[in-house]
């Protein structure tokens, strides 16, 4: 089973890239939701 480690490394790197991207979208979405909430609250306080 020559090069099996390289095959595993390639798959691990590939899945890690996809996972990190998915997490990055989720984090950006949460940050934006927080920003919208903050804006809503400051608007309500201004009324």
């Amino acid at each position: 089973m020559k090069n099996l480690n390289s095959v595993f490394a390639a798959y691990m790197i590939g899945w890690t890239v996809f996972f990190v991207y998915y997490i990055s979208i989720s984090r950006r979405t949460m940050a934006l939701r927080g920003e919208i909430e903050r804006l809503k609250n400051s608007l309500n306080r201004g009324k």
Binding site: M1, K2, N3, L4, S6, V7, A9, A10, Y11, I13, G14, V17, F18, Y21, Y22, I25, S26, R28, T29, L32, R33, E35, I36, L39, L43
Partner: protein, 225 residues
């Protein structure tokens, strides 16, 4: 159960089956041995990346013609998703190349045009951070996105038009080229699973961009008031 959680679970299941098929169902290549199994991740990611760039190109064209923000949102989402898949192609390629070619990288037509494609879409995303006004930013990035897509036919044709270190095409190639029928089935199944992943990421990213667009409109409205 929420629809988004259910679709994520279906995609995960498809990817799991695809990985199992790549390791345990597909036969081992007589020449390359086990290392060739990178093909299923590498080639399926490449095809999915090109599909994503094609969606980006269509969205950019539609933005230029109709000037509706949703096409801008789809364009940037597809551009970013395509870039992620192309990054996987550029990372897994050298891992496969080293034991087979004896080198990690060479500046042949296929590898160079793929690297240029990656750089073009990095520039496409960077360009968006440089322009403040959202209509101007959307138009400029749509025009740049249309220009960037010119490299996609070059990537596709590079192994058909020029002699390269990179292997010749496995579909629509010269007579006698191709794969074992089981290898084809596993490859197309992996591509199908990757398209599922692309759709999932694209949908999430589009939602984020739509929220960002709405927030910008509210902020501009507040500043103007």
């Amino acid at each position: 159960m929420k629809k988004s959680v259910l679709s994520a679970m279906v995609v995960l299941l498809l990817l799991g089956v695809a990985a199992y098929a790549a390791f345990f169902v597909a036969p081992t290549d007589a020449k390359q041995g086990v290392i060739y199994r990178i093909l299923y991740l590498h080639v399926a990611s490449a095809w999915t990346g090109l599909t994503s760039f094609f969606i980006c190109f269509i969205a950019n064209l539609l933005y230029v013609l109709r000037r509706q923000p949703r096409w801008d949102w789809l364009g940037v989402s597809a551009g970013e998703t395509g870039l992620v898949f192309t990054t996987v192609v550029l990372l897994t390629g050298p891992i496969w190349a080293h034991p087979v070619w004896g080198i990690w990288w060479t500046w042949d037509a296929r590898l160079t045009s793929t690297f240029v494609l990656w750089l073009l879409y990095v520039s496409y995303l960077l360009l968006r951070t440089l322009v403040e006004e959202h209509d101007r930013r959307a138009l400029l990035s749509a025009l740049f996105g249309i220009f960037a897509f010119i490299d996609v036919p070059l990537v596709f044709g590079s192994i058909r038009w020029w002699r390269t270190q990179h292997p010749q095409p496995i579909i629509m190639g010269a007579p006698g080229s191709g794969l074992d029928p089981t290898m084809y089935k596993v490859l197309f199944f992996t591509w199908f699973a990757m398209l599922g992943l692309m759709t999932l990421l694209l949908r999430q990213r589009y939602r984020l961009e739509a929220m960002r667009g709405d927030l910008e409109i509210i902020q501009h409205g507040l500043e103007a008031a």
